[in-house]
Amino acid sequence: MYLYDGALDVPKILKQWYDSERDSNYGAYIPFVGTVRSEDNISGLSFDIYEPILESWFKSWQEKAKLRGAIIKMAHSRGDVMLHESSYIAAVFSPKRRVALEFIDEFVEDFKASAPIWKYDLIEGERVYAKDRSTAIKGSGLLGGQS
């Protein structure tokens, strides 16, 4: 897992990962790249990350990948990422394509639902929490309700 301040250098990271595994006998390399789109007058996005829990979450996915003979890599930005820059890359290497195609889908879905990363819209220089696009982590609300 690789965390960077600001936008990701996508060609460099994809090449680094390719070079690191090109001789590992994987038949498939399937990356997903997330890029900031222009919508709702935002100038970009900004991210907070809580690294201790992100690391343990990612480790559990590395173990799942290993069980299927695959490996998973991930890069994410901290702080501000402007329009048409990229903030997220996930990639799976596996012996055959089917495992990697299915695994990248499962991984990115759980990433969206569980990874401790918070997104803010950048609007006129202000960070506005993307509340409506955020998902409560499974089991949330323990401290709410009636005593």
Partner: protein
């Protein structure tokens, strides 16, 4: 003392509390009007591991974190 941290968009400074369990923490935090919505939608971690029950004893030096709804990518 137990350190309580509020992550991401919860704009609140960490607390140092003299408590023994998560039920006591719930009672204390529920008195804070500004936290009401966050308490409903946040996950809770003890020493960086998510917990699924309030039946957890706390000991001196423990860290409790509140994790509001997430959106990576």
């Amino acid at each position: 003392m137990i350190r309580v941290e509020f992550l991401g968009p919860i704009q609140k400074a960490p607390l140092e509390l003299d408590i023994d369990n998560l039920n006591q923490l719930r009672s204390i935090l529920q008195k804070d009007e500004e936290l009401q919505e966050w308490l409903q939608n946040s996950a809770v971690a003890l020493n960086d591991t998510l917990v699924s029950s309030l039946d957890v004893a706390l000991k001196d030096g423990d860290k409790v974190s509140l994790l509001p709804p997430v959106c990576g990518g």
